[in-house]
Symmetry: C2
Subunit: 188 residues, 2 copies
DNA sequence: TTTAAACTATACTAACTCAATGTAGTTTTA
DNA sequence: TAAAACTACATTGAGTTAGTATAGTTTAAA
């Protein structure tokens, strides 16, 4: 049930771009991202290329160029990024919503394994399709501010502002988990 | 977030052995399992060997030999099987409970990605460590009986008996999902 | 006591994926 | 005009996956 390094790097880079945007930094260079996250620069360039082609980020070429998010962070779900890099979220093809594939088992309707794995796929998708880059950025920034850690991509400690995190997600069912708790607990 | 073919085959074989036990069949041969599940026989033999070494199953050698579960199906969690074949359930090492590994990111305590992936790992483990082979066997048999499908490993349709499914799991939190619903809904 | 059916052990391998690395550009702007 | 940055594409070494192949050993039924 692994996330690939490529997927991890893509998420880290996008979260960084989200933080940069939140902190008022217009562009971030690949070299800076690579240094901050300890990612081989050529590998990261490859990933950024893919993220650009797929419309997640935009680039500014030339000297003092760099990358920025192509749309607001709350319009980018984590699930869409993971699917792009690592394929379907489902553990096996016969329970994938986005890339169903018939499995070799003789009777799919009476397959207990399939039902179990459908639960797993729904649990994963329930998290990764619910949360956006903006959620992860907010949790990260909030923890850093609480601990008085200097924010990345900004010299001065950024002013506290209230992000429009749930603007476009009207009726979410309550959910358990770390992120959910951290996002609703404003004392953190 | 994939389950390997090897892991899938191991689970299928173990579920079959669980069904066989439930239906009163003492031993099942590898050749029969391979034919039923369309698994290459030499590959399955390899897997059965591993499951035996690890104490999940026992073998009877010689003519008319075969395999059986080494302990009651409700003592074998799905999570333990998946971990054996495919390693930790966690998407990244830094959130694994059974095989923690420090990640390359500069500040683990303020890493939003880590918190998110911890939610994912808990969601997966919450399912795979909660359910046992017995649960999957029961769901499978119940669906087959409801649809009057002939049960595997038995010529006559097996009598309905009440399995001791939750015998050793005293206080489980309620949980959502297909399996949970199917297991509690006795009309299915 | 033979022998077929079954499990056991170990070695090998083709194909694929992962995680980069290398080379050679093009574009932009200070 | 040249440094800094992005772009494109080819290559590669290591590791994993999903099997095959070969040569047994064990057991029980005939």
């Amino acid at each position: 049930m692994k996330l690939s390094k490529k997927g991890e790097y893509a998420l880290r880079a996008l979260i960084d771009l989200g933080i940069a945007a939140e902190v008022g930094r217009p562009l971030v260079q690949v070299s800076e991202l690579a240094a901050k996250e300890l990612i081989p620069i050529k590998f990261l360039e490859q990933i950024m290329q893919l993220l650009k082609v797929e419309g997640f980020i935009e680039s500014q070429r030339g000297k003092f160029g760099g990358y920025r998010l192509a749309r607001s962070a709350n319009k980018i779900t984590i699930g869409s990024i993971v699917r792009l890099i690592d394929g379907p979220l489902a553990p096996i093809g016969c329970v994938s919503h986005t890339a169903y594939e018939k499995c070799s088992c003789p009777d799919e309707t009476h397959c207990g394994l399939r039902m179990l794995m459908l639960d797993v796929r729904n649990a994963i998708a329930g998290i990764l399709d619910r949360y956006t880059l903006a959620d992860v950025v907010e949790v990260t920034l909030r923890k850093m501010r609480r601990d008085n850690v200097p924010l990345p991509f900004s010299d001065a400690p950024a002013a506290r502002r209230s992000p429009a995190r749930n603007a476009d997600r009207p009726d979410l069912k309550p959910i358990e988990g770390l992120l959910s708790n951290l996002l609703s607990d404003y004392s953190i």
